[in-house]
């Protein structure tokens, strides 16, 4: 089961948890499960989130598959110059 680690403001939305175990095969499924468990997370999903899976950062592509024992980080979506 993937270990999902939370940073920054996402911890606040998840009752201050820093690591969650969530069964999910894709980022989309992960997002769905997350909001089911923590409704406050919903506010961050539209534009505010990126997902790092084993070190690779995904911003928009929610179809990406999550390997079974992957390290997953939820990080804020960033802006650049």
């Amino acid at each position: 089961m993937p270990q999902v680690k939370l940073t920054g403001k996402f911890r606040a939305a998840a009752d201050d948890a820093d690591t969650l175990e969530i069964e999910a095969r894709t980022i989309r499924e992960l997002m769905t499960r997350l909001v089911e468990r923590y409704p406050l997370m919903d506010q961050h999903l539209d534009a505010g989130i990126a997902v790092a899976i084993d070190g690779e950062i995904y911003r928009d592509n929610w179809s990406v598959e999550i390997p079974p024992d992957a390290e997953v980080f939820l990080i804020p979506r960033i802006q650049g110059g």
Binding site: T7, G8, K9, A47, E56, Y58, Q79, G80, G81
Partner: protein
């Protein structure tokens, strides 16, 4: 989709060569058309009335006399821009920034706009608009804004249920810093401040807006992302996105500042009201006062290390001034602060703080330079205390493949170690220094990102190739993209012509920001070209009447393979193109991709300065940039990015700053007193490109545009310290600040 983005090691034929850019002749002959260079029949001149107060309630705006002035065709206030944002506060913030609603939130905040037949008339009309203000207390300093009794900038922002200027707090890191500091032999703790700077692009914001009574419209605009501008403008004005065609002009610099709408929605509103095209060109003082500079900051850094140089813990508290609207800049500062290092125990807390200053926008690797100034200055102090060479100290603690980044994920193959080794071995490090001269070095990090991208590639009857991209070319990316298309197709560079399409001609593309232009459009170009090659293989198979599997593509031509038809002459791209009408029609390739994993980027800079101890003036006498590019598609423009970022960082380090008076008004809104480096201020800037392939790009490309602005602040601070022995903790290190520090040291 479905294309494999993995890096494959290959020999390049044209990628990596220094070809002439396709838009070069237009740009050296004055033919290239920028934001202010478009004209439309019957166009009006749009001008803005702006608040002279840092913070004021707008009690009344009387536009009646302006409206009556002959030649005035429209006057617009917030009443003409109703809130259509449906509870989306972020979007309402954008609208409110474009035109003040009940309050003016900073000096220069737009309160009204007029469209008139000429500039003189529009200017007179602005004088006839009467605004009744009730001046409110203001705050412009980030530390002041965090005090409990500070004036509140945005009433909807709260901390623990109480009105506050802190819009968010974000913490990153891992391990136990208390435990780590307890293990340290040496701890250095220091606070730093940096002042607000502007991107300082030479082209002011400009657009030509035209809205028809049927609700359709066109916008010609200088922007880093016309698709994003379309979304914002359509949403704010209640237009259909498909009915608003946005064309990106040539762009005269952006560096992040042209990723936001400022005047464009208002220009469209003026045009809609006047039913005439309206051209808006900002004056330079408006650019400084009312477009997005970067943050001013106040940061505290603490680093502990063992005598052998191992860092045991590092922490940072970072307070970033966001201007009058909530944003994410403190968060980014916290994410980037310790990204260069492999740390067991690390904690960064970023505060985003509102002030009565213009809305902050991204500025090249936004937020990273200020955090790096604090961290990299402190790194030198720790190295000094444990008696270790600062380069060796950094090498010992550098992040590497497998390091858990301080902002979360684990790194793949990265370039911080190699850039440091390159610095250590660079002849610059061994060059002799004279009196009052000193050398400093520092490291920098930027994420880089990709994003949504859509590209077309069309092959003409004569075999010439039109590459149509949707990412704005801010610094020569069309040359790089033509190189990539030529490489894939196996044809000469000159045979490809790249164009930036308007929003009606291509699917959505994210902004050119985050160092994504060449990375993401490059990836989409590779895949679009491979699509087109598949089409050409199939056409060749048809022309030869052989099975598709017996046709391969090599060196820009189709080759028949296999025993039966191995002796068929090859078919070139040109030959296949010429026959295309009879083999199935036009030949094209297309790709939509979310190009993720742009490959994190690291740089290490070396800098020599000479300080005049009697005046505090600092001159940069030698400068070297070492950065990982993954793969340099066009080395000239990669070097150009390195040099340009370094120059901006040098300006920031030494002289650039927003100076606000006690009245909350900006005192230096012009290029005379906002001092960006001039030609005689700088030496040649040496560059060294490292190529550590990004595993998730077919060519190994990493974004290269931003990281180069991150190290200079600290590199120069460290050099000044080594030159005259004072540790500067306030950016810019302007002559009065350096002289004061020298005098305090001497007394």
């Amino acid at each position: 989709m479905g294309h494999d983005t993995s890096y494959t090691d290959q020999e390049f034929k044209v990628v990596g060569t220094r070809v002439n850019r396709p838009d070069g002749i237009d740009k050296v002959t004055g033919r290239a058309r920028y934001g202010a260079d478009a004209y439309a029949p019957g166009q009006l001149v749009g001008l803005f009335l702006r608040s002279p107060h840092a913070h004021a309630r707008i009690k009344k705006i009387d536009t009646s006399r302006a409206e009556k002035l002959k030649g005035v065709k429209a006057v617009v206030t917030s009443a003409d821009l109703p809130d259509l944002t449906d509870g989306n506060r972020g979007l309402l913030d954008i609208l409110e920034n474009c035109m003040a609603r009940d309050r003016a939130l900073y000096d220069g905040h737009a309160v009204a706009a007029v469209a008139a037949i000429d500039r003189q008339t529009a200017k007179r009309a602005l004088k006839l608009i009467k605004v009744t203000y009730q001046v409110l207390p203001h705050v412009t300093d980030v530390d002041e804004a965090m005090k409990p009794d500070a004036p509140i900038v945005q009433e909807y922002v709260a901390t623990d249920g109480l009105p506050s200027n802190v819009s968010q707090v974000n913490q990153f890191g891992h391990g136990d810093v208390d435990k780590g500091f307890a293990e340290a032999d040496v701890i250095v703790e220091k606070s730093y401040k940096t002042e607000q700077t502007h991107q300082g692009y030479i082209e002011p914001h400009a657009c030509l807006a035209s809205v028809s009574p049927d609700g359709s419209g066109e916008l010609w605009v200088t922007t880093q992302g016309h698709f994003g501008f379309r979304i914002n403008c359509a949403q704010l004005l209640g237009m259909d996105m498909a009915k608003l065609k946005v064309t990106a002009s040539e762009i005269g610099g952006g560096f992040g500042g042209k990723t936001h709408v400022w005047v464009e929605p208002v220009a469209l509103a003026l045009s809609r009201k006047a039913n005439r095209p309206v051209k808006v060109v900002m004056d330079r003082d408006e650019v400084f006062k009312a477009t997005g500079p970067t943050c001013s900051t106040s940061v505290d850094i603490k680093i502990g290390a063992k005598k052998d140089g191992t860092i045991t813990a590092a922490s940072a508290v970072l307070r970033y001034q966001n201007g009058a609207f909530p944003a994410i800049w403190g968060m980014l500062g916290a994410m980037t602060s310790f990204a260069c290092y492999d740390l067991k125990n690390v904690k960064s807390v970023g505060y985003d703080v509102l002030c009565n200053r213009p809305k902050v926008a991204a500025y090249r690797a936004p937020s990273a330079p200020m955090a790096a100034f604090g961290v990299e200055s402190t790194m030198d102090l720790v190295a000094e205390k444990i008696g270790m060479n600062p380069v060796d100290f950094r090498i010992k603690n550098a992040a590497k493949e497998g390091t858990l980044a301080s902002y979360g994920p684990t790194y793949g193959p990265i370039g911080i170690g190699p850039t440091l080794e390159a610095v250590k071995n660079h002849p610059h490090m061994r060059a002799r220094l004279g009196k009052n001269q000193g050398r400093g070095m520092a490291c920098g990090f930027w994420f880089n990102f990709g994003g949504q991208t859509c590209t077309d590639l069309n092959i003409g009857l004569d075999g010439s190739v039109t590459l149509t991209v949707g990412t704005v070319d801010v610094g020569g990316s069309r040359a790089s993209l033509c190189l990539i298309a030529a490489e894939e197709l196996g044809i000469p560079y000159e045979q490809v012509k790249a164009n930036v399409a308007d929003t009606a001609s291509l699917g959505h593309n994210d902004m050119t920001e985050g160092s994504r232009g060449t990375f993401s459009s490059g990836m989409a170009t590779i895949f679009a070209a491979r699509d087109a090659i598949e089409v050409m293989r199939s056409r060749a198979a048809d022309m030869w009447e052989i099975p598709l599997d017996d046709v391969i593509w090599e060196d820009g031509q189709a080759k028949a393979v296999g025993k039966k038809h191995g002796n068929l002459p090859t078919l070139s791209l040109k030959e296949i193109a010429a026959k295309s009408p009879n083999t199935g029609g036009p030949i094209a390739g297309h790709n939509e991709v979310v190009a993720d994993n742009a490959g994190v980027s690291f740089a290490s800079h070396i800098c020599d300065v000479e300080v005049d101890p009697e005046t505090g003036a600092t001159k940069v006498i030698r400068y070297t940039v070492v950065q990982d590019a993954g793969k340099a598609i066009h080395p000239d423009y990669v070097e150009g990015q390195f040099q340009g970022g370094a120059a901006q960082g040098i300006g920031w380090a030494l002289n650039e700053e927003y100076i606000y008076g006690d009245d909350g008004r900006l005192q230096n809104a012009g290029f005379l007193d906002y001092r960006i480096p001039v030609c005689s201020d700088l030496p040649f800037i040496d560059t060294k490109i490292l190529e550590i392939p990004n595993p998730t790009h077919p060519y190994g490309v990493r974004g290269v545009g931003e990281t180069s602005i991150v190290p200079p602040l600290a590199a120069i601070g460290n050099a000044v310290s080594n030159a005259v022995g004072v540790r500067m903790d306030h950016i810019p290190m302007s002559p009065p600040r350096i002289l004061k520090a020298l005098e305090e040291q001497n007394s």
